[in-house]
Amino acid sequence: MTATTKIKGVMAAAGFAASLMVGGATISYADEVTLTMAVPDWPPTRIMKKFFDEQYKPKSGNTVKLDVDFIPWPDFYTRVNASLTSGEQKYNFIVSDSQWLGAFVEGGYFRKINDLLDADPEFKKTFMEIHPNPLNAYATYPHKSENYYGFPQFPDVLVNFARKDIICHEEEQKNFQAKYNKKLPCTGEELDAMTWDDFRNVGEFFRRKKGEMLAGKPAEDDFYGIAFQAGKAYDFSSMQINGFIWQMGGNIWDETQAPSGQAEGVVNSPEAVKALETYLSLIEYMPPVAKTGTMDIFKEDELFREGKVAMAVNWIGLGEASLDPKTSKVSDKLVFGMMPGTKGPDGKMVRWSNIGGQPFVLTTWTTDAQIKEAVEFVKWWLSSDIQHQFAAAGGQSAVKSVYSDPKYVTYRPWNRAWAPSLDWQKDVWHVPQFFELLTQQQDQFDLAITGKQDAKTTLDNIAKFQQNLLTEVGLIQ
């Protein structure tokens, strides 16, 4: 081997080593970061994943993978709860119901995000642009404090889904006017103006047996005027009953008043009892499954899409399937309005309702590299462009600049009810005892819905249980 050949060989080896080093440096710079997320399996989370896969480009240059575990809604809490409490530390991100914050913050699973917001003023500005009601519900613990834990993934409210082919039918309009001396609501604005008394009238008016005339044709099956959630599982009656109670001047146990706020005397106040009686009185106008205590939001949605009901109060999150002709027999016949309200003593409409939707939260074991990418992902998710796209695809945005845009109401027919509804949202307890409070309350409401006890007994039992439990844990003194 000549000296020249040796030198060439050494240079080639050096060049190869250098290229390996440079290449190696590039590889180590472009890390692969995986964010593992637990989400309920429904359109808002499917859309998010689709957007991420199609559009997300991390600013860091890293390869960011969003590994999403889609969990069916009925098992969602159980699966997430089991994952967190078992200590497997599987998820970095969790789409959490707002009420879980207390239990999982106190358990040491959900990470406080104040430092992340403080470190990024631009991000904080976007975050603080979220409507205060969803912001308080989804992010704060203790409730309405300045300790932040969550970012809105999909904000949601209850709205009124209605069949315009039925309610706008000329003959039905005429007969309703003759019977109640009131116009049968037909447009979105008229639905907005409905009270629960009007809702009851619609329920009574449209109860038709198979073969009876309905909107100019014999009904193909038994038909019902109204539907709302009245199920025993999870929170499928509390979310509706709370709205009745707040609208009619009652209250639930107020966690922001702890420890002086009481349960007994508040939860079972005369106003709350009257509100529950009003709720129960409407069940007879609903499809018969409501009397079995299994009218959850999915059954209600199914009945509406199958064309069995004229009006249904349900979450916007389930609305997309109603508009899809592949999954809905009424897709081209719909009109939407705000959830019915109650006229206050001053004659103004009171519209309090229980907020739906979910934030996503970071878990405490998420590494710095993951947190950095997670924050970038959330900033991208809350950016105006993506929020507009999300709303256009059937999602919702709680970011003021987005939902105030005139284009917003054109995305989906229910969006006209979105912004006005946001001002009337409250949330149920965020305390660690949430699930205990909820299951006992759901059990009691079920007894009332299935006709086994009256409203007064129901609320007395709930108040006694809450007073006892919350006193035991020091939230009531």
Partner: protein
């Protein structure tokens, strides 16, 4: 030529080591060290460390037993060791662990733990807020045990009597009848949810056509219980049938032939020939189904979510322990349930033995 008889040379039996002799097969010393070190570890160290110390001591004692068995040629014991180890890890250890937990105040979503003695047992049995739900769930469970097991025994027995005979298409019908038992409970539950649905379900459709009213099976406790019992019987009667059928086909034919010659009545033939062959299997079916019925939760969750006052103790336990994260309280309820099942099983075994002796 004389043949010297071959005699076996006796093995010298290995003597057990003295208590304090350090030897790999000294299991007595291993137990002593294990207990002392575990007690000190539990008393002085945090739970996260002492847990592993206790585990290591248990492994050390197990190893001493194995070495001891090997050196003294207890091969039978060695052969069953893997099975016992699996049983211990998968069954006995969790049982002991949950028994221990029932004496503490511990919630799986919180980091603190505190010894409370019998407080959880007193609470689940007597507290005026918690106890009524537990007792109500227990009463409902007893009701489901009686109704589901008796329905399954009767239907399963009648099906077995039917399929013990030969008739056209028997083989295919038998497969059809056995199908529900092979389905998952979730699939069956969803099927029955739609079957009973008052708007979409076929049951209400048929009943409404007959009565011209609105039939809603699940709107009362009686209806909801009937719905659950029917679904459970639909799934598990074939299991009883299989066991009884196995007994029926084992009856020797010549006994029936002899009975026919003697012109014995059908009832007498059943009572004196058939029944003794199936009695043991019927009792086995009764035992299995009673234990399973005591754990009924899946169908209740799918059909009523415990609504209409159909909450069973197992579903109640799932809610307490898994949903509300009250681990210790859940453990206490589990042990109350376990105690009841043990009492019932022993009562059953006692009665079965007494009947056998009388027979």
């Amino acid at each position: 030529m004389s043949v010297t008889p071959v005699t076996s040379v006796p093995r010298t039996a290995r003597t057990s080591p003295a208590l304090l002799e350090v030897s790999a097969d000294n299991w007595r010393l291993a137990i002593l060290v294990g207990v002392v070190v575990s007690a000190l570890g539990v008393a002085a160290l945090p739970a996260s460390v002492s847990f592993w110390i206790v585990g290591a001591m248990a492994a050390m004692v197990a190893a001493a037993f194995v070495v001891n068995a090997y050196r003294r040629r207890y091969y039978g014991g060695l052969l069953v060791t893997p099975a016992i180890a699996v049983l211990f890890v998968m069954n006995i250890f969790p049982l002991l662990w949950s028994l221990g937990l029932s004496f503490f105040a511990y919630q799986s979503n919180q980091q603190s733990i505190r010894f409370v003695g019998l407080y959880n047992y007193i609470k689940v049995l007597t507290n005026d807020i918690a106890a009524p739900d537990n007792w109500n769930a227990l009463i409902n469970t007893a009701m489901f045990v009686v109704l589901t097991v008796s329905t399954q025994m009767i239907v399963g027995f009648l099906l077995a009597m039917l399929f013990a005979k030969q008739f056209p298409l028997r083989k295919y019908l038998l497969i059809l009848v056995l199908t529900p038992m092979m389905l998952s409970v979730v699939a069956s539950g969803v099927f029955f949810t739609y079957y009973y649905d008052p708007t979409f379900g076929i049951l209400s459709y048929v009943m409404n056509s007959i009565t011209d009213g609105q039939f809603i099976l699940m709107d009362s406790k009686a209806g909801a219980v009937a719905g659950i019992v029917f679904a459970d019987a639909w799934m598990w009667s074939p299991f009883v049938m299989l066991l009884v059928l196995a007994g029926l086909v084992s009856v020797p034919k010549y006994l029936y032939e002899a009975a026919a010659i003697d012109r014995v009545s059908a009832w007498r033939r059943f009572w004196s020939i058939t029944f003794p062959y199936i009695r043991g299997l019927l009792m086995l079916a009764l035992l299995f189904r009673t234990i399973e019925a005591f754990k009924l939760a899946d169908l209740v969750i799918l059909l009523t979510k415990g609504g209409n006052d159909t909450m069973t103790i197992s579903y109640h336990l799932i809610r307490i322990a898994n949903e509300q994260n009250k681990t210790s309280e859940g453990a206490a309820i589990s042990y109350v349930m376990l105690f009841m099942v043990i009492v019932l099983t022993n009562l059953y075994l006692y009665l079965a033995k007494r009947r056998n002796r009388e027979a």
